[in-house]
Symmetry: C2
Subunit: 152 residues, 2 copies
């Protein structure tokens, strides 16, 4: 039950891009070396982010990546859905025919597995929170909470 490393890589990379001056394309070398991780691997993650419209990519000399929209419009949820995939966190694997009758009345009444109901509720709490936090939000928090005044 852990987020993959890829998720962390993606988030840190997007923050890096959000800090780059607008119009400049940042290459995979710079992005990877800043975090001390393999370029080829980060490439794949960036490729996903591009296919999902979170970043734009330009091939060729002086090419690279840039955010496809402002950091204030890229939520943690957006990023995580792409990298982790969109399956739900809980799947009920109990064999229906053996499962207790209380939890297996889906077709008749719409009464689904109540364990799943709770688990889905928990997931929703987390996702809602992630939807409320953006890449830009982290940068704003950083300039505040790490400012000399705040730290003094």
């Amino acid at each position: 039950m852990q987020f993959s490393k890829s998720t962390g890589y993606a988030l840190h990379t997007l923050i890096h891009l959000a800090q780059a001056e607008r119009g400049r394309y940042v290459g995979i070398k710079e992005l990877a070396s800043k975090q001390g991780l393999p370029e080829s691997y980060l490439s794949k993650i960036m490729s996903k982010l591009r296919q999902d419209g979170i970043v734009r990519a330009v091939t060729g000399a002086s090419g690279g990546y840039e955010l496809a929209r402002p950091g204030s419009e890229i939520t943690f949820y957006d990023v995580i859905s792409v990298v982790e995939g969109r399956q739900q966190m809980y799947e009920c694997h109990a064999a229906n025919e053996h499962q207790h009758e209380l939890f297996a009345e889906a077709d008749a009444s719409g009464c689904e597995c109540l364990v799943k109901k709770v688990m889905d509720g928990a997931e929703r709490q987390m996702l809602d929170y992630l939807k409320q936090h953006t890449i830009q939000g982290v940068l704003d928090a950083a300039s505040f909470s790490c400012s000399p005044e705040h730290r003094a």
Copy 2:
């Protein structure tokens, strides 16, 4: 980013135990067959739950398992922590020496990685929700939402 099947097995099993009459020990055969899953595997999960004080076990003929405390005092959180382990869902793997200065001032000022801060917040939302839901709560919801009156 999925809960393991083991978590589902554990939750369904505990609900089964909560429904058994008090003082009766339910054996692994019954618990496993109800869900259509291998006994040896469920054994291991039950063993963990016992070591963590969620169920009691009795060996020998007519032995088996029972809840160690009322279902109203066993939260989803309790169960999931045991089965999934207690590590946090997000670990920051960015190499500190390469990471952007904004997020690597932990020792000096207590200003930790702000990505992690958001991710930990998200996790907390989910765990709080899971702490508010109990095994007994599911049974109560079942007798209500699946009752003939409600379904009519």
